[in-house]
């Protein structure tokens, strides 16, 4: 009985660990260049400044703004993933998986906040996912040539 309980707890923990590890591996894909900067500038996304703030101070100054920022950036980027230079107009499997991962992490960060635990690591992971999404959008837009339009100009007209 004790052994079964031990196996249940350990296996469940390892199951989620391996799921997370697979998602983190997917996020570590290297892009040829930093596509995300033009997307962040064109759409006035704030996750980069949020990350900088966290790295400088160790915690978010305003938790309410942090949540709102992450949520808004996520919505904007997922919209762009689906609609910007995407012929199929749907998410790929990797993107769907990472969106699910983002949502799960978001809940975990909220739970950690509830128990007065540090949310820094979780928030940094969330910004890493957003950076990946921005890179994917930037890469897609970059592959298309819209006359003399730069990726940021194209996105501004979207």
């Amino acid at each position: 009985m004790v052994l079964a309980a031990f196996i249940l707890i350990t296996s469940t923990a390892l199951f989620f660990f391996y799921l997370q590890a697979a998602c983190q591996r997917a996020l570590s894909t290297k892009f040829e260049q930093e596509y995300f900067r033009s997307i962040v500038n064109a759409n006035r996304l704030e996750f980069l400044s949020l990350r900088k703030e966290l790295e400088e101070y160790g915690h978010a100054v305003d938790y309410g703004r942090l949540r709102m920022t992450l949520k808004c950036d996520f919505l904007a980027l997922t919209y762009l993933l689906k609609n910007a230079a995407n012929v199929n107009q749907r998410y790929s499997r990797d993107e769907s998986l990472l969106m699910l991962y983002f949502r799960a992490l978001f809940v975990i960060v909220s739970a950690r906040r509830l128990f007065h635990l540090s949310e820094k690591k979780g928030v940094l992971k969330l910004t890493a996912i957003l950076e990946y999404f921005a890179n994917v959008v930037g890469q897609r837009v970059n592959q298309y040539r819209f006359g003399n339009l730069a990726p940021s100009d194209y996105l501004l007209e979207l």
Binding site: L8, F15, R93
Partner: protein, 248 residues
């Protein structure tokens, strides 16, 4: 009705993914590099998509023959996965012969131990196989594989291995082992509760799909290291320039 549709979708989705991945590896010519993964996929496909449906068709879902075949083939699949993890250890130790020399007898001994215990336990309980025994047995077997797989993952992290594809393969196997191990432990603790058995009906194939999706990602997305230029014949002028004076 909707339950059975979902069950069929998960089941056939798994078969399609197994076949697609095997074909993809073959077509892209990566089978030499992933020969053990291919063998495991082939075993999975022959058991899942050929063997089990044939026995099911012949004897029916409630027959003891199908139950025996199902559980025996499951043991075979886990032992195959165990061997696959051993082969991944070999790949993780590439270029470190001393470490591999140390690991090889250890892995061999662990495999012999698992195989011996499995065969002895199955022989002892063969007449009442489909009981609480099989739950405990499968739970232990899956957990042993999970522990070995986790050791491999730790080894990769400690060595700061840059083989992203290997890491993804290990993550996939972790998902495949951890889900069923937890489910079997839950069934054991709940004393064969039917709800948790029903959960396994979905969780097992879903974990297999999770593993296959991770492997797909490893095959399609993980960049391959640049090929080292093959030995080409040097141009005549270069050969003659390099030849020591006086040599013919």
């Amino acid at each position: 009705m909707s339950d059975s549709i979902l069950g069929y979708a998960v089941q056939y989705g798994g078969y399609i993914l197994e076949l697609a991945l095997l074909v993809l590896i073959m077509r892209t010519g990566q089978w030499r590099k992933r020969i053990y993964v291919c063998l495991y996929l082939f075993l999975l496909l022959s058991v899942d998509a050929v063997g089990r449906p044939l026995v099911l068709h012949k004897f029916g879902v409630s027959s003891p023959q199908y139950s025996y075949f199902y559980w025996m083939s499951d043991v075979l699949l886990i032992l195959g996965a165990f061997l696959l993890v051993c082969s991944l250890f070999r790949r993780a130790c590439a270029g470190q012969e001393k470490m591999w020399d140390l690991l090889l007898p250890t892995l061999g001994a662990v495999f012999a131990l698992v195989l011996g215990i499995s065969l002895a336990s199955l022989h002892e309980h063969y007449k009442n196989l489909v009981s609480v025994f099989i739950v405990e047995f499968q739970q232990n077997l899956y957990f042993a594989c999970l522990v070995l797989n986790t050791l491999l993952y730790i080894l990769l992290q400690r060595r700061e291995s840059e083989d992203a594809e290997l890491a993804m393969t290990v993550c996939g196997l972790g998902i495949q082992f951890a889900g069923p191990a937890a489910n079997f432990a839950l069934v054991y603790l709940a004393q064969n509760n039917e709800r948790f058995w029903a959960l396994y009906q979905y969780l097992g194939p879903l974990c297999t799909i999770g593993m296959l999706a991770t492997w797909f990602y490893a095959v399609v997305h993980v960049p391959q290291p640049a090929k080292v230029a093959g030995k080409e014949r040097a141009p005549a002028w270069a050969s003659s320039a390099l030849r020591p004076e006086g040599a013919k």
